[in-house]
C-alpha cells in the first residue's frame, strides 16, 4: 500500500518499481532460489502501460502498477507453469487462472513465478524439481512450504506481496517462518479455477505480504465468485480495508487448550502470551475453548489429501501434455515411466497412499472414517465459535529448521509441521499467521482463525496488533529491499 501511495502521488513509476523488483529478484536468486521463472518483458510492458494511463489521468485501481508474483501453480497464459515439478517443466497453459485474471485486471505487473514444493506437497520447499528455497532470515534454513518461494520473495523485499496456496498450512507456515502475514481465506472465497489441484476439498488460494493492510488490499483483488469453480462461494466480498478499522473492543479471542502433543518451546510460548496480552490491552477478551478432536487433524488430513491427490494427479500421464518418457514400449510403459520420471518421491508416496486409502476393502476404514472425523473437527470449531469470535494458536511448532534436517526416512516428522494449521483447512475456515517475534533470531508467528467468510475480522485484529507492535517491520539482514 505504501508503494501504491507513492505511485498515486507521482513519487515513482510502476516501471521503476518493477525494474527494481526484477533486479532484486535476479540478485537474490542464487541465495534464495525463490523464482522458477521471471517474466521481465510482460511485467515491464504492463508497468509502462499503467504509467502511461496514469499520466493520461485514467482512473486506476488501488494496486495498479505495484509489482507482485504468483506461486507457480497458478496457470498463466503463455507463461510456463511448472508446479515445482519435472512433470510440468514444459507446460505452458493456454489460459489464466481466475486469480491471475483478477491480478491482471487490478493492473499489477507480475514479475515471475515462484518456487514451491512439487504440486504443493511439502512443508519445507525441499520437494521442488527446481531445488530448495532458502530462508532470507538464515540461508541455511527452510522458508517453510509449500509456498516457500512466495514467502522468501516477500520476506526478502523483492515484491510487496505474492499469491500462495494453502492445503494444510502452506501459506501460514512459511509466513510464520519468514516473518510475514499470510492469509488462507475461507474455502470457496477464492476461485480454484486455474490453480493446479492438490487436494480439491482443502486447497485455497491466498496471499503473503508484510502486513495486514497489504494482505487486505491484495485479498480484495483475488476474492470473489467465479462460476467456473462449483465450490466457489457466491457471496459479496466485503471491503477488507474498511474492515481493518473495526475496533477490537469486545472481540472474544478463544484460546484452545491443546494436549501435550502440541507443546511449543518456552521462548515461543512467551511471545504468544505477549501477543495475547497486547490484544487484551487493545480491548479484546479471551476465553478458553475446547477443540477435542484437534489431535486427529494430521491423521485425517493425511488420508483425505492424498486420496484426492491420487485422482487429481492421474491426469499427468505423458499422453496429453507434460513429461513423456523416451521410447515407450507400450501404453503401460508410457504411463509407468512418464509418471515415475516426472514425479518426485514425496508426490509418488502420496499418490500411493491415496490410491491405497481409496482401494476396495480399505475405503471404509480410511477414507470414509477420515470424512466422518473431519465432520467432528468442523463441529468442534462450530461449537468453539459460539463462545468466541476468533481462535488464536501458535502457527508452527518451532521456528525455521535447517534445510536437510527433516529429510529422513520418516516423512511423518515433517507432516507434523501442519499440526496447528490443518484444522482450518479441514473446517474450511479462514486463518492467518502474523509475526509476533523471534526465537533464537528466527521469526515465529501466531495464527488467528475466524468464522467462515470472516476474513475481515481476523485481518482487523492483525492490523490493530501491528499498529502497536513492530515485529512485522523487521527485515532480514542483507535483504533490505524496499518492496514494502
Amino acid at each position: 500500500m505504501q508503494l501504491a501511495r507513492s505511485l498515486r502521488q507521482g513519487e515513482t513509476t510502476s516501471e521503476a518499481l518493477t525494474e527494481a523488483a526484477l533486479t532484486r529478484a535476479r540478485a537474490a536468486q542464487d541465495d534464495l532460489n525463490a523464482f522458477v521463472t521471471l517474466c521481465p518483458d510482460e511485467a515491464l510492458a504492463e508497468a509502462r502501460s499503467v504509467d502511461a494511463e496514469r499520466a493520461a489521468g485514467a482512473a486506476l485501481g488501488p494496486l495498479a502498477g505495484v509489482p507482485m508474483a504468483h506461486k507457480d501453480l497458478f496457470c498463466t497464459e503463455g507463461i510456463r507453469t511448472t508446479c515445482g515439478s519435472r512433470m510440468l517443466d514444459n507446460f505452458i497453459p493456454p489460459y489464466d487462472a481466475h486469480v491471475v485474471e483478477r491480478v491482471k485486471a487490478a493492473r499489477m505487473p507480475v514479475i515471475g513465478k515462484l518456487n514451491m514444493d512439487e504440486f504443493a506437497m511439502g512443508s519445507s520447499n525441499e520437494n521442488s524439481y527446481y531445488g530448495a528455497v532458502h530462508n532470507p532470515w538464515d540461508l541455511r534454513c527452510s522458508p517453510g512450504g509449500s509456498s516457500g518461494g512466495s514467502a522468501a520473495a516477500v520476506a526478502a523485499g523483492i515484491v510487496p506481496g505474492a499469491t500462495g496456496t494453502d492445503t494444510g498450512g502452506s501459506i501460514r507456515q512459511p509466513a510464520a517462518l519468514c516473518n510475514l502475514l499470510g492469509i488462507k481465506p475461507s474455502y470457496g472465497r477464492v476461485s480454484r479455477y486455474g490453480m493446479v489441484a492438490f487436494a480439491s476439498s482443502l486447497d485455497q488460494g491466498g496471499v503473503l505480504t508484510r502486513n495486514a493492510e497489504d494482505a487486505a488490499a491484495l485479498l480484495q483483488v483475488i476474492a470473489g465468485h467465479d462460476a467456473r469453480d462449483a465450490t466457489c462461494i457466491n457471496a459479496p466480498v466485503p471491503d477488507y480495508l474498511a474492515e481493518l478499522r473495526t475496533p477490537l473492543e469486545g472481540v472474544r479471542i478463544g484460546l484452545p487448550d491443546f494436549g501435550d502433543g502440541h507443546a511449543i518451546a518456552p521462548a515461543y510460548r512467551e511471545l504468544l502470551e505477549a501477543c495475547i496480552e497486547q490484544l487484551r490491552s487493545l480491548g479484546a477478551e479471551t476465553v478458553s475453548v475446547q477443540l477435542p478432536n484437534a489431535d486427529l487433524g494430521i491423521a485425517i488430513y493425511y488420508v483425505i489429501a492424498p486420496a484426492e491427490a491420487s485422482a487429481n494427479l492421474a491426469r499427468y500421464d505423458g499422453v496429453h501434455y507434460g513429461h513423456r518418457c523416451e521410447n515407450p514400449a507400450d501404453l503401460q510403459d508410457l504411463y509407468r515411466r512418464s509418471r515415475s520420471e516426472g514425479f518426485g518421491e514425496e508426490v509418488r508416496r502420496r499418490i500411493m497412499v491415496g490410491a491405497h486409502v481409496l482401494a476396495r476393502g480399505f475405503y471404509d476404514a480410511y477414507y470414509l472414517q477420515a470424512q466422518k472425523c473431519r465432520r467432528l473437527v468442523l463441529r468442534d470449531y462450530q461449537s468453539a465459535f459460539t463462545r468466541c469470535d476468533v481462535i488464536l494458536t501458535p502457527t508452527v511448532r518451532a521456528p525455521a529448521f535447517r534445510l536437510g534436517e527433516k529429510l529422513t526416512d520418516d516423512p511423518t516428522d515433517l507432516y507434523l509441521e501442519d499440526l496447528y494449521t490443518v484444522g482450518a483447512n479441514l473446517a474450511g475456515l479462514p486463518g492467518l499467521s502474523m509475526p509476533v517475534g523471534f526465537v533464537d533470531g528466527l521469526p515465529v508467528g501466531v495464527q488467528l482463525i475466524g468464522r467462515a467468510l470472516e476474513e475481515g475480522r481476523i485481518l482487523s485484529l492483525a492490523h490493530r496488533y501491528q499498529q502497536h507492535t513492530d515485529w512485522h517491520l523487521r527485515t532480514p539482514p542483507g535483504f533490505s529491499g524496499d518492496g514494502a
Binding site: L73, F74, C75, T81, C83, L88, F91, P93, P94, Y95, A97, R192, Y193, G194, M195, V196, A197, A199, S200, S201, A227, R228, D229, A230, T231, A307, E308, S310, A311, A314, R315, Y316, D317, V319, H320, Y321, L331, Q332, Y335, A355, L358, A359, R360, Y363, Y367
Partner: protein
C-alpha cells in the same frame, strides 16, 4: 428342463444438450479432431468441472417419463482408471445416489402384447473421447470431441428372456428418449450404446446363472444377434456340464462371434469416491415442476389428436409426432400456413426427404419453420403453384433466404393476373384449333392437353385450377371463332 435366458440391459444414451456435461464446449457430432475439446475436456491442470443443469434436467425428465423415483439429491463420484481417451484418468459418474431410481418401461411387443421391464436406476456420467488407430503409422491418436458429452446410463432389471424382448425394450427406450427430445438416437454415431448382461438357467425357478457382459453394442440388430450367440454359447457349456466364466465380451459383427475383451480393459477396482470439485445436485420442487411441465403429452395422445383434429393420416401423424422438436416445428409451420394437413404432408414428404438426403436431424435443419410456413402460406393463398413451391423449397434448402425474394428471383410467382392468363389461354386456343374442335365436339378429354399447353407456356407459374376454370369458360362459350 425348460432352459431360460435372463437378460438385463444397460443403455448408454447421449443427451442432446447444447454443451458438454461439465463445461461449455459444444456438444455435437463430427468435426475436425479435437475441435470441440476445450481446456476442461482436455483436463488441463487447474481446470474444474461445473455441472450442466440442462443435462440434469433431461435426465430427470426421462425419469419422470419412466415413472421413476427422482432422487432430489444426487452425487457425482470419480471412477478412477487410466485410459488415453479419458484425459483426467477418472470418469465423473454417479454411484450410490444417481439421478433416478426404480421405474418401468412398458414395452410394446410385435405380437401386440406388452412387456413390463423394471428399471433399477439411471446415472449421469461423462462420455470418453476416442482413440484413432488408423491415421498415423504405428501411433494411436486421441480425439477428445466426444470427451465430456453427457450420457445417461439406464440400467434395467434382468426382466427380458429372449433377444426379441431385449431388442423391443431397447427400441422402446430409444423411442422414449427421441420423443422427449433428449437424444437424437442415432445409433451409428454411438448416440445410444448397449451393454447386455446375459445368463442362462435350467428353469425359470432356478437361481440366476453366472452372467457375462456384452459390451458396447451399437445397433438393435446386433443387440439381438449378440445375445442370441452368447445365450447359445452358455447353453452349450451348461448342457455339457461346464461352468460359465464371468467375463466381459465383445460382439464382432463381421465374424458373427463374441469374444472376451483383453484383460487389461476390465480393471476391477475403480476406487470410487465423491468428486470434491462438485456439489451434490439438488432438484427442488420448483425445478421438478418446471421440468414436468416442459414435457410433451404422451405420444399416443398427440398422434390421436393430430389425426382427429388436423386430419393427418396415421403415418404422417406418427412421423410428425416422433419427438418434441418435430412437434414444435409442425406447430409453427401449421400456424403460419393455416393448413395443418398440408404442413404435415410437407414435413413428412419434402422436408424429411431433404433431411435424409443430407443426413441431418431436424434440430440442425437449414430451413427454419418460419420459412416453410411462409412458403406453404403463399401456396395456400395461390401465390405460387405446387410445382413452383417444390422448386422454391429446394432452392431455399440449399441457399437460405426469404420466400418472397426467392419466388421473384426464380420468376415463379403465379400468374393470378387473369388478363395475362387469359392471353395465354387465348394463345393456346388459337394455336390448337384441332383440339378445340374435338373438345367442342364432345371429346372433353383434350382439355387436359390444352391446359398442359398453357402451363408449359407459362413456365409452370400458372395456378392449374385457375387455368382449368378459364379454359373451360372460354371453350364453353357459345359461338366459335375466338378471334372474332
Amino acid at each position: 428342463m425348460s432352459w431360460q435366458t435372463v437378460i438385463g440391459l444397460e443403455l448408454h444414451i447421449q443427451l442432446h444438450t447444447r454443451s458438454k456435461l461439465f463445461c461449455g464446449s459444444p456438444n455435437a457430432f463430427g468435426g475436425a479432431p479435437n475441435s470441440r475439446a476445450g481446456e476442461v475436456d482436455s483436463a488441463l491442470p487447474g481446470t474444474l468441472p461445473v455441472i450442466n443443469r440442462e443435462a440434469v434436467g433431461m435426465a430427470v425428465q426421462l425419469g419422470l417419463a419412466l415413472g421413476a423415483e427422482i432422487n432430489r439429491t444426487s452425487v457425482f463420484v470419480r471412477k478412477n482408471y487410466f485410459y488415453p481417451d479419458l484425459p483426467k484418468n477418472y470418469q465423473i459418474s454417479q454411484l450410490q445416489e444417481p439421478v433416478f431410481g426404480a421405474g418401468t418401461v412398458e414395452v410394446p411387443m410385435p405380437d401386440g402384447g406388452t412387456l413390463s421391464v423394471r428399471i433399477n436406476h439411471a446415472h449421469l456420467e461423462e462420455d470418453a473421447g476416442r482413440l484413432v488407430h488408423d491415421v498415423f503409422a504405428e501411433r494411436s491418436a486421441v480425439d477428445l470431441n466426444r470427451a465430456g458429452v453427457p450420457l445417461i446410463e439406464v440400467v434395467s432389471e434382468p426382466d427380458m428372456h429372449s433377444p426379441e424382448e431385449a431388442v423391443a425394450y431397447a427400441r422402446a427406450l430409444h423411442r422414449i428418449v427421441r420423443y422427449l427430445g433428449i437424444c437424437s438416437g442415432n445409433l451409428s454415431r454411438g448416440e445410444l450404446r448397449c451393454d447386455a448382461n446375459v445368463s442362462v438357467r435350467p428353469d425359470p425357478e432356478a437361481p440366476l446363472g453366472t452372467r457375462t457382459e456384452l459390451k458396447n453394442i451399437n445397433s438393435f440388430r446386433f443387440i439381438g444377434r449378440a445375445i442370441e450367440i452368447e445365450a447359445a454359447r452358455q447353453l452349450r457349456i451348461l448342457k455339457s456340464g461346464g461352468e460359465v466364466a464371468p467375463q466381459t465380451l465383445l460382439f464382432d459383427p463381421d465374424r458373427d462371434i463374441v469374444q472376451p475383451m483383453r484383460e487389461k480393459d476390465t480393471e476391477s477396482d475403480y476406487r470410487y469416491f465423491p468428486d470434491p470439485d462438485l456439489l451434490p445436485v439438488y432438484v427442488d420442487d420448483d425445478w421438478l415442476e418446471e421440468l414436468r411441465s416442459g414435457m410433451p403429452a404422451p405420444q399416443d395422445e398427440v398422434i390421436r389428436r393430430y389425426e382427429e383434429e388436423f386430419g393427418l393420416t396415421d403415418q404422417v401423424a406418427r412421423q410428425v409426432a416422433a419427438d418434441v422438436h418435430s412437434m414444435d416445428y409442425f406447430d409453427r409451420v401449421r400456424t403460419l400456413c393455416g393448413d395443418a394437413a398440408l404442413a404435415g404432408n410437407w414435413m413428412a414428404g419434402a422436408l424429411t426427404g431433404a433431411l435424409h438426403r443430407d443426413g441431418l436431424e431436424l434440430e440442425r435443419c437449414p430451413m427454419p419453420a418460419e420459412t416453410l410456413g411462409e412458403l406453404l402460406r403463399t401456396l395456400v393463398q395461390g401465390g405460387i403453384s405446387s410445382s413452383a413451391a417444390k422448386k422454391i423449397f429446394e432452392s431455399l434448402w440449399s441457399e437460405p433466404g426469404s420466400v418472397d425474394e426467392r419466388i421473384d428471383r426464380l420468376g415463379l410467382r403465379a400468374l393470378t393476373d387473369s388478363d395475362a392468363l387469359k392471353d395465354a389461354v387465348e394463345a393456346v386456343i388459337a394455336g390448337n384449333p384441332g383440339q378445340v374442335e374435338q373438345y367442342r365436339a364432345g371429346r372433353t378429354k383434350v382439355l387436359g392437353y390444352l391446359i398442359g399447353q398453357v402451363m408449359q407456356a407459362t413456365g409452370g407459374t400458372a395456378d392449374a385450377k385457375t387455368v382449368n376454370r378459364l379454359m373451360r369458360e372460354r371453350l364453353d362459350q357459345p359461338g366459335g371463332d375466338p378471334q372474332s
